[in-house]
Symmetry: C2
Subunit: 218 residues, 2 copies
DNA sequence: GTCTATAGGCCGATAGAC
DNA sequence: GTCTATCGGCCTATAGAC
């Protein structure tokens, strides 16, 4: 089993595009992505991927040397996109509550996407046997958000808007408050589908609790 | 694939004990438990279980008609024990902070056990294909704690110790605050092993944030 | 490059001897 | 009850024709 399945040497942009341009390869990647994210690693066979992609298994193995390698490629290239636009963390905060709700809302809605949940489930499930997988997921997803949020929180503190004794811990608390209830339930595939109302309540409550814990009363 | 894999008709206590008394069966169950919890569902074979248990596959199939059924039995019987002693939620609370830290500490340390984490990972990973699994895990674990905590929180409120507009939501927030940081990292199999200090900081910070959000200033 | 065909092995599950 | 031996099938991966 390939040990270093995820952190692979980055191809140049041109290489990546060229390689991705081959239509059969694209079909393979798309089929594998769909199937892995829908069913996990173990329950998907190379036959199934080849059939879904509309190519033969030999072609599949011409592009990827093993099932592990294909899985690693999918996770490394498709698991990294998180909704971190530059304007998500404004320098000047007029309404702290509204800003927190905006940030939290975007990240919670991203976390609740079927695709994001699928990646999370797979990373968690396979992290024991593919140690790089848990690490790659954490670094590409939660860690990036946490870093930016923590920096932003530091700025807020230097502006006197909040008083946070431990920035990293408060950041993790904010993220955890977002994961409470709705996300936890959905991650276990439990019905019902969360309503817009319930999501907004979670966001509002998280912001409220965070503010009560850390906002400076002015 | 057996649809209703977990919620199976309960045997009488006597039956269960009798069935469990057969030494070969006990060996099978123990081997399966170890292997499933260590490696998940897909990565474990019936050959492996039989070999580990020291019995033949035929014997294994004499006790359990299929791999699914064996898996279901393991999850149903071994996944339910949670640390809910009666005295965990005291009626009279002298020191609210200390009590919250005590409750939170016990539940966090339980959640961080390798065995608990393994069950959590499997429930989450297989919840898509075994819908009953996510439900059973939730009901036997988090839901039971949540119910008791919420009731206890209601008592605190009627005593005027806290002001909680939404008991269920606050309960989920408390649990989420416990899952922040350490648990989230461990669930993805990420090093380092959490230190006692880090665990205690998480607990203290969760209690602190919860108190700031909901405690009544007297 | 892409296919068909198949190797070689492990899978879940079973038949039949004792 | 428990074993040995084995089935048919699907698995990952490859050889060889075009």
């Amino acid at each position: 089993m390939d040990q270093n399945i995820v952190t692979q040497p980055k191809c140049s942009e041109a290489d990546a595009v060229t390689a991705e341009m081959s239509p059969k390869r694209r079909q393979v990647v798309e089929a594998a992505e769909t199937l892995f994210f829908a069913n996990g690693y173990g329950a998907v066979s190379m036959d199934q991927i080849a059939r879904t992609a509309g190519v033969s298994k030999a072609t599949l193995y011409a592009y990827f040397p093993s099932k592990d390698a294909l899985f690693a490629h999918i996770v490394a290239t498709k698991g990294a996109d998180s909704p971190l636009s530059c304007d998500l963390f404004p320098d000047d905060v007029a309404d702290l509550r509204a800003t927190l709700e905006d940030i939290g809302g975007r990240i919670l809605k991203f976390m609740l996407l079927d695709r994001t949940l699928a990646i999370y489930r797979i990373a968690l499930a396979e992290s024991g046997r593919f140690p790089e997988l848990g690490r790659a997921f954490y670094q590409n997803g939660p860690q990036q958000f946490a870093t930016r949020f923590q920096t932003w929180l530091g700025h807020l503190q230097s502006q006197g808007l909040v008083k946070v004794p431990d920035l990293a811990l408060a950041t993790h608390q904010f993220m955890a408050l977002m994961r409470c209830g709705v996300f936890f339930r959905r991650s276990l595939s439990l019905p019902p589908e969360p309503s817009e109302l319930e999501i907004n309540q979670t966001i509002a409550a998280a912001a409220e609790t965070f503010l009560r814990a850390y906002a400076v009363n002015s």
